[in-house]
């Protein structure tokens, strides 16, 4: 359970609208494709089986071991493929709508004017001229078995045109969607409109999270925050992640995992936490005050005035 740093969010939102400028225009590159898949469950635990090798000579024994290994490895690969094919069936009602939805349409929706934060445009033609910041991503979406939750994975690169030759800031971001009311499946009879809207929100949030990390120069600050086991809402059950707390949004935390990737997940709110009207309309909002590396004094997580994270 945690309290949201409402005051901190409000202050950051005010700052955000104040600092957005032409110099901070962000261009969003259109990815070549946007794959979708189902989420397969974890592989079953392999049991122990006693095996006697026919080994009249060391060479024959080695061949027997290698053959045994190849058989087990092949069986496991086939099982993984079967589980993924089974999981992908969850997308069947939406396939027609998603295949007709171009990556450009997705990015155009992500670039819609935001209420705060830096302005965004699709990187194409004249719109690209003179802009300093460029964001590249390679999103992949996955749907959980109940058809009510999504998972976005994307590599995000932030390039600064003002300093040519610098290594782009690059980070892997994962965003888990919120639970839908009553865990209802996304409808498929409306050209999957709600599903598309949710995926746009997730991708826009992933860009915000990456820009936030870029602003904080996260790699340099990585050791300031201790690793702890954080709890979050993974559908109807608790998820857990050993990670550093990077920031907080609307009933949501952003973590830096042991792999160095960023993970944005929903969390349970304390019962006495005041509900924010802004969070009700924009559940994935995440404060990005400016583009580019911040000074050390401002390089603090949004949670600085919020609650402590879980254990």
């Amino acid at each position: 359970m945690r309290r949201l740093g409402v005051a901190a969010l409000a202050a950051l939102a005010t700052m955000a609208t104040a600092v957005a400028s032409a110099d901070e225009l962000v261009l969003l590159e259109v990815p070549a494709s946007v794959p979708w898949s189902g989420i397969a469950g974890a592989a079953a635990e392999g049991g122990t089986v006693a095996m006697l090798y026919p080994a009249p000579t060391p060479l024959l024994g080695l061949i027997a071991v290698l053959t045994h290994g190849a058989i087990i490895s092949g069986a496991r690969a086939a099982e993984d493929k079967r589980r993924q094919e089974e999981a992908d069936k969850v997308l069947e009602p939406y396939l027609a709508a998603l295949s007709a939805w171009s990556p450009k349409a997705l990015v155009q929706a992500v670039a819609e004017p935001a209420a705060d934060g830096p302005a965004r445009r699709v990187a194409e033609g004249e719109a690209s001229a003179g802009a300093r910041w460029r964001v590249e991503f390679a999103p992949t979406f996955a749907m959980f078995a109940g058809r009510s939750r999504l998972l976005l994975d994307s590599r995000v690169r932030v390039l600064d045109a003002a300093v040519p030759g610098t290594v782009p800031f690059e980070v892997q971001v994962r965003v888990a969607s919120n639970r839908r009311a009553d865990d209802a499946a996304f409808p498929s009879d409306d050209d999957a409109e709600l599903l598309k809207q949710e995926s746009v929100r997730l991708l826009a949030h992933a860009v915000d999270v990456a820009l936030h990390a870029h602003q904080r120069q996260l790699a340099a600050l990585a050791d300031d925050t201790p690793f702890r086991t954080h709890r979050y809402l993974d559908g109807p059950r608790d998820g857990m992640e050993r990670a550093q707390l990077v920031g907080e949004g609307c009933a949501r935390i952003v973590l830096r995992t042991l792999r160095g990737t960023l993970l944005s997940v929903p969390v349970r709110m304390a019962d006495d936490t005041p509900a924010s009207a802004d969070c009700a309309t924009r559940p994935y909002r995440f404060p990005v005050t400016r583009v580019g590396a911040a000074a050390a004094a401002t390089a603090q997580p949004a949670s600085a005035s919020g609650s402590a994270a879980a254990r």
Binding site: T48, Y53, V65, M240
Partner: protein, 230 residues
């Protein structure tokens, strides 16, 4: 010569099987166990083992040596894992007992079960004699969190791994009535968690397996706390 060999075999049989005692079977928390308000209950952890790797199924000596060698980098990482998170369960369990009207007594020192006298082998009774703790801490009952093994387990079939490594924790949680040595509650723990995203082979830090290890600790603690909630 033959007599000596027979004696050796008998001794080996005694050492490896004679002392083995089956652990108690699972027993739900008895409703009357926590009925008397103000009962003083000690809350203790057994000596925590150091996290390590295990390779069940690699049953011949050469098989085990091969498995150990192949997974040596993983073993090195697992041995750096901390058990500090697990210690917090003592406070959490004490809090839950207090909410149920008990008077918990935190026993700071870990209990070395091997150094306690053997208890009863009867069903429903503690396998160790905890009587000494009764007077030492002025307690009526004792809640023990016993961790027998934790770390990472990878199943083998002789020389060949049959699955990916999984974080594991084995042990039990139980409440002993110190007047009778009867068990008021016995919960076996056998937690097994795969590496995050089913990706484990990430030397040298193995973040997926490391994450799974800490998840296993949390899941074990959840299992221990659940029956004690009001």
């Amino acid at each position: 010569m033959r007599l000596r060999l027979t004696g050796l075999l008998l001794a080996a049989t005694f050492v490896f099987t004679g002392c083995a005692t089956a652990p108690p079977t699972a027993q739900p928390l008895r409703s009357e166990a926590l009925a008397t308000q103000g009962t003083r209950i000690g809350v203790a952890l057994s000596t925590l083992p150091k996290p390590d790797t295990q390779f069940p199924g690699a049953s011949c000596l050469l098989c085990y040596a091969t498995a150990s060698a192949v997974n040596s980098s993983l073993t090195t990482q697992v041995r750096t894992f901390t058990t500090q998170d697990l210690v917090a369960v003592r406070d959490d369990l004490a809090k839950l007992l207090r909410e149920r009207g008990m008077e918990p007594v935190l026993i700071a020192q870990e209990i070395d079960l091997e150094r306690l006298p053997e208890g009863s082998k009867d069903a429903g009774r503690a396998r160790r004699d905890f009587t000494a703790l009764r007077s030492a801490h002025k307690i009526d009952k004792l809640l023990v969190v016993q961790v027998d093994g934790l770390g990472v387990t990878r199943n083998y079939s002789a020389y060949v791994p049959t699955g990916d490594p999984r974080a594991t924790l084995n042990g039990a949680g139980y409440i002993v009535d110190l007047a009778t040595q009867k068990l008021d509650w016995y919960l076996p723990l056998a937690v097994s968690v795969p590496a995050a995203d089913n990706k484990w082979d990430e030397p040298p830090k193995y973040p997926g397996v490391t994450n799974a290890y800490f998840q296993a600790l949390e899941m074990a603690m959840d299992q221990l706390k659940q029956p004690l909630r009001k």
